[in-house]
Symmetry: C2
């Protein structure tokens, strides 16, 4: 599958759409076709290189459903041929234990090449705990 | 304080040195002097902009000591005027409860400007839990 994304946002929209659909090939078409890409999902080790990234999402989609996320933009850095998007991802799928899903930070980095913009880094991190449980330095 | 870093690694070395020394001004001199910078330390909310980044490290150093980290490079992406470094940071300071310190992932993004390379994003994320406690998708 060959697709061209004219803006970082086009690539980002396609990424979250493919995630929701559980569409592995659609999702992989958003990632750059180079081996310097990296992906860090919650509770996962860092996946580096295209085969490792393919493996992560193959296992994720093996559960049989996509991942629906509500995405809130927190800010972005545009710098030449690289765009860095900070978002907050709130899972919309119900969790097995009925707990409300926890939002996580996401950082998406896109690079412009001859084929348009592609994802080169996706990285999640926990959001801060509630104020009463935050470390003194974060209050 | 005005310093010039000729490579992303020079900036990175200065960052971790200043962190170890608890040297606020030295540390801030590594960050770019623009308002699109962002910093996400463990258990903290995302800090965006230079005043917020200054505030995070002012509070961190108010504990009265620096943070000594053993830094292992996991990989990096060099793309024109932006360099992305993935590292694993292992705290060397003893924790108050005597627990062994937990390593975290760190992503440092540097941008080249007229004054050399400066840090624009620092972001931490937890490393994966031990294999027995990892989600099915990460095994």
């Amino acid at each position: 599958m060959s697709r061209t994304f004219d803006t970082p946002q086009d690539a980002e929209d396609a990424y979250y759409d493919a995630l929701e659909e559980g569409n592995l090939e659609g999702l992989l078409s958003v990632w750059d076709e180079t081996d310097d890409i990296s992906c860090l999902l919650p509770m996962h080790p860092l996946a580096q290189g295209r085969p490792a990234v393919r493996d992560v999402f193959t296992r994720l989609f093996a559960r049989g459903q996509g991942i629906t996320l509500s995405v809130k933009h927190l800010g972005w850095i545009d710098t030449g041929d690289v765009a860095i998007h900070h978002v907050e991802e709130s899972p919309q799928n119900k969790s097995p234990d009925g707990q409300p899903p926890m939002a996580v930070y996401g950082t998406n980095i896109y690079r412009r090449g001859t084929g348009g913009w592609r994802l080169i880094v996706h990285q999640n991190a926990p959001t801060a705990p509630p104020a009463g449980r935050m470390p003194p330095t974060a209050r």
